[in-house]
Symmetry: C2
Subunit: 234 residues, 2 copies
């Protein structure tokens, strides 16, 4: 490559290309091919049934090369779905109807997440298994990022609902968000493990959210909002 060609590369196309030599470019391309190959095969055959050999073959790299880009097979799972999950979560919060009861907003958000997982339940199972307890702690930051988005998203919904629904002003929205997510997460696990149907899970989740908002104590009669005559029990 001549000096002229080199210079050209810096401003190639319309995009501002950082000084990326053949080396980094190849690396990036391989990385992309690995992610694409993993995604395709996981979707087509399932996580456990896909071998790292197959992924390497489809990505057109040597078997050893794969592990230069992902330290373990589980890493591939996180690498492939991390961005997708983060974007799904962000989108879920973006689409929430404002000025709608908090319970409904929560159901919109978690409904979107459930819909995402519903596209491929066995894969979701593998993904949740790995996210819950990482096999390699190096990916912890990825999970933390996702969690922060979710917790603070829920926190914002709660904070936003304070005025509309007359919620307490002395609660920590983030902490409440964690609680609500915990309630969702356990239900999610139950659903993915085949202990309930999606419908039953979502229906029951709604009841739990209402209970979490109203609390276990009797409401002051005039403060009603979420509560119907004789709810709970579903």
């Amino acid at each position: 490559m001549t000096k002229a060609a080199k210079k050209q590369a810096v401003t190639r196309g319309a995009e501002k290309v950082p000084p990326m030599g053949r080396r980094e470019r190849n690396k990036q391309e391989k990385f992309d091919r690995i992610l694409a190959a993993s995604r395709d095969l996981f979707a087509a055959k399932g996580f456990a049934e896909t071998t790292t050999q197959e992924i390497a073959e489809r990505a057109d790299i040597g078997t050893g090369t794969l592990f230069l880009y992902a330290k373990t097979k589980e890493d591939l799972l996180i690498m492939v779905f991390k961005d997708e999950m983060i974007e799904t979560s962000r989108a879920a919060f973006r689409k929430v109807s404002p000025a709608t009861p908090l319970v409904d907003q929560l159901m919109q958000v978690f409904g979107a997440m459930v819909a995402y997982h519903n596209r491929d339940v066995p894969l979701a199972r593998a993904l949740i298994r790995e996210i819950t307890i990482l096999s390699r702690p190096e990916r912890r930051e990825d999970v933390r990022t996702l969690m922060r988005i979710i917790y603070s998203g829920i926190g914002d919904l709660i904070a936003g609902a304070r005025d509309r629904e007359g919620l307490r002003s002395d609660i920590d929205p983030m902490l409440a968000g964690e609680s609500l997510f915990g309630i969702y997460y356990l239900g999610l696990i139950g659903w993915l493990s085949g202990q309930t149907t999606k419908q039953a899970f979502l229906k029951r989740l709604r009841v739990k959210f209402i209970l979490a908002i109203d609390g276990l104590r009797p409401t002051a009669p005039e403060a009603g909002g979420t509560r119907k005559r004789r709810p709970a029990k579903a």
Copy 2:
């Protein structure tokens, strides 16, 4: 073995021995040896670091024989700790101080569970990983049993606290129990994943429980109980 000896076996010792021939007896003994070997090695070297070969050797059986008793290595984990976890849970509920505020009762129960896991955190991590999403659905019933005990245990605590603390009578205790367990479980995962210390986890858990009991709405002034002046926020 003579017919006489056979008959004797039926009433051997002081225990009432069911008609268990050499066959079943041998099987039981091997099973016990496998469990003991697994328990010892998991505790000594960790789950991942223990090989099935080692377990077989220590249990004095062939490598293939092991998989006659446990279909996978993960099965061994569940087999070894299932009873222990069930008994820990039962004991936790048994030891709860009656006539004590519900929050404190809950903290007693979950504190006992945390103490149990705290004895060997890496092992607890492996165990929770497996329990959360089973690698082989055949063990589902075991997990369900444990969950039933916990949910209904919490449900009973809530039902018992109804009168003492003037809780709503229209709530489903089991459903509320699930919610509270979900809140605990997510925190547990965070702790086991090294995102918090045990102390911070437990402290925050308490705040979440109070929030779950009181709800997000303002309390009627005269109904106070759990709530202090300006709580939450920890």
